[in-house]
Symmetry: C2
């Protein structure tokens, strides 16, 4: 039987040891009977003109080829997930394919914003506000509601663990859930 293909999205592609993370994730995928597709496997030579557009097209092709995706939503340069990863998550959901996600920062968005800047509860609007008086969502979610709710609607809430950014136990939990959900194996 052909193995299901899983798109491996995350800011992992920006890490100093990106290729090693990709290899490790693909090894774990194989253990769970899946074939991992890692964005850096797309060979786009560094000096090529229009390289960003070629990488974009290659990633979209990989998303279309994949049967499902696992998304690393660990906060990246701020309180929220990497925007490139979020873009790919939304695209996969719009394609009607299953998406699983994890974050290695278990605290909810409100708490994480509050660690980065002063926040205060505004009685008039009954909402939390950041230093620029912008509303901070307070749904207990890991991130913006579009992200959390999209995954809940699919029946796969974000796996939230407090772990070092390179830790892959949340990733493995996504693999277990994918095996249970897509192949009916015990979760």
């Amino acid at each position: 039987m052909e193995r299901l293909r899983v798109y491996l999205a995350g800011p992992d592609v920006f890490a100093a040891d990106a290729l090693a993370i990709g290899r490790r994730k693909k090894e774990l995928c194989a253990i769970y009977g899946f074939e991992g597709l890692f964005p850096l496997d797309n060979d786009v030579p560094p000096a090529e003109a229009g390289r960003d557009r070629k990488i974009y097209r290659a990633c979209v092709s990989m998303l279309q080829l994949a049967d499902f995706g696992i998304f690393n939503l660990t906060p990246f340069r701020g309180p929220s997930a990497d925007v490139g990863t979020v873009f790919e998550l939304a695209m996969m959901i719009a394609l009607g394919k299953p998406a699983f996600a994890y974050t290695n920062a278990s605290a909810d968005l409100l708490e994480r914003v509050g660690r980065l800047e002063p926040i205060a509860f505004d009685a008039a609007s009954e909402s939390w506000r950041d230093a620029a008086q912008q509303l901070v969502e307070d749904f207990g979610n890991a991130d913006n509601l579009m992200i959390d709710a999209a995954l809940v609607e699919q029946g796969h809430p974000i796996v939230r663990r407090n772990a070092p950014s390179a830790d892959l136990s949340g990733f493995e939990e996504c693999l277990r859930r994918a095996a249970a959900s897509l192949r009916g194996e015990p979760g």
Copy 2:
């Protein structure tokens, strides 16, 4: 003739004067012959259980109803755009509908990351790295390549202007481009 409907996405929904921004944007849409759909027009009572999922579903329905979208990609709580807006942008692109976008911070991603934390050029990998040794893209783009390239592929590069966050001249430029592109009017 029925007016084309435009989904108005952006972190505007979090602003202290969110409703006023929405009204102003819809007025501008009308001037250009479009009907603006603002997410906060979805009536989801504050205390309702599962409110985040209801807002998510309402936004997705609005995206599906819209003929095209205009996305405010001005950086939000960090060097990148609001993740909720990026999620909606990707969904609209996956739906095959035209997307126009603007940002009121004209500097490219590399420069903006460098304002927030120390960055350095790494000779070995021939790439810029942030304080955590993570790669910082250097394509001259406004944001992550998935965002910029998706819009370039559609023929509508991000409108980049240096302006106060509430300034709507970039938004109006998107309306002009939409009128030119969707109705063949002079740009």
